[in-house]
Symmetry: C2
Subunit: 221 residues, 2 copies
DNA sequence: AAATTATTGTGACCATGCTCATTTTTTCTC
DNA sequence: GAGAAAAAATGAGCATGGTCACAATAATTT
């Protein structure tokens, strides 16, 4: 490793380390990029030579942490029969690894991971979401025998629904003050069951004729 | 009505009207509060005498629109037997009224309505959400016979799940370029069925023993 | 109608995320 | 090692949402 490359890596690590400490102490929004720069002993602009944005800095850390969780989770999954069980194991593993950042994860997710966030605005966030959804996809396919619904539309609708439910869990967890976040576990249990259920089609209890509803206001003449 | 009161109302209306026009043309983020002030013929600070924030300005309009939708929807609901059907009618009515603002609704919802948003940060947003959830609650209770799940925990878990699913629909709709947003209708159909299904408990297909999972990293000694 | 009080408008000013021309440091070439 | 080229650091500066002390205007009192 060449000298400057090493120095660069050190600086990068210093930025990350100091940023995390500040986020933990004051939250994400109340930590300014100038705070981070001062703590890391660099100029205000330097941080942006390493990370595209303040969010990208935080998401980089989350991505690291979740990557570790991802390798760990593969073993656990083999023991899970049902889709709901597997999802439960996958998500709890991720949350456990995110635990040190629990108090400010929401501030970052709000503007990067939400379905309202513009795709492409934060590459790190997009990557985290995609990896997560791919894992879910594999996890479901490996247990496809439990599903009566065709899975080929996973990308189109199911992934939207899944992702929003997952975000609900993360948001709940990030504010959960119950001992050991047991309320989150209950919610997650319910959520994973709900999602697994949604992969079975038996839901024609009323006719699908409402499709002729109009969402856009008809043009006046 | 006193003279100044009238003038004040006029100014307020002018702010709203010009803001909407600008939002429509350039989006929410790309419209600055200075743009709005200039268009409305007031000083930059004046806008904040009328609205707490840029988001609050937009949410005020959404609240108005949804209030109108709310009165309209009560009639429609009487025709709906099932919970899913009723939800479908309720949500489509709201979306139809929001249609003129479709392109920038997401930019506002992202930071005010998401489960990550800090409650109390935007009073208008909180009110809209609460009203929406109350309507859903009534709508469900009036059809409680269809539910095997006890409804008394609605506030605790169900409302979180419902709200996140609803946001998924809104986000999807706000970017839906299919003719007449028919893709949104399909998604909404699926979503409302899914949610209605979740009000029935028959989901004990695997033991709930995973509750002993640990979310927080155990302290090292 | 003058004086006083209450309401509303104003724009200079602040904090902050981020940019970018310039400067400093490092690496490469001879 | 001197000079050139490439990489990295710098911090003044920009745009923007929002604040606030003060100014202007309207309403009330005498």
């Amino acid at each position: 490793m060449r000298v400057t490359a090493q120095k660069k890596a050190e600086t990068r690590e210093r930025i990350v380390a100091e940023a995390l400490q500040l986020f933990e102490k004051k939250g994400f929004a109340d930590t300014t990029t100038r705070d981070i720069a001062r703590a890391a002993g660099i100029a205000t602009g330097t941080m942006f030579n390493y990370f595209d944005s303040k969010e990208a800095l935080a998401m980089t850390v989350f991505a690291d942490v979740l990557k570790t969780a991802g390798t760990e989770v593969q073993q656990r999954l083999t023991g899970c029969e049902s889709i709901a069980e597997a999802l439960f194991a996958f998500i709890t593993t991720g949350l456990r690894h995110l635990d040190p950042h629990r108090r400010y994860v929401g501030e970052v997710y709000e503007n990067t991971m939400t379905p309202f966030a513009i795709p492409g605005a934060c590459a790190e966030a997009d990557a985290v979401r995609q990896t997560h959804l791919e894992t879910v996809w594999q996890l479901v396919v490996a247990r496809a025998g439990q599903c009566t619904r065709a899975l080929d539309d996973f990308e189109i609708l199911t992934s939207h629904l899944y992702w929003s439910l997952y975000l609900a869990v993360v948001a709940f967890w990030s504010r959960d003050d119950s001992p050991n976040q047991e309320d989150t576990l209950a919610m997650l249990d319910r959520t994973t069951r709900l999602f697994a259920q949604s992969l079975n089609v038996e839901d024609t209890d009323y006719p699908p004729n409402q499709q002729d509803a109009e969402l856009s206001t008809p043009e006046m003449e």
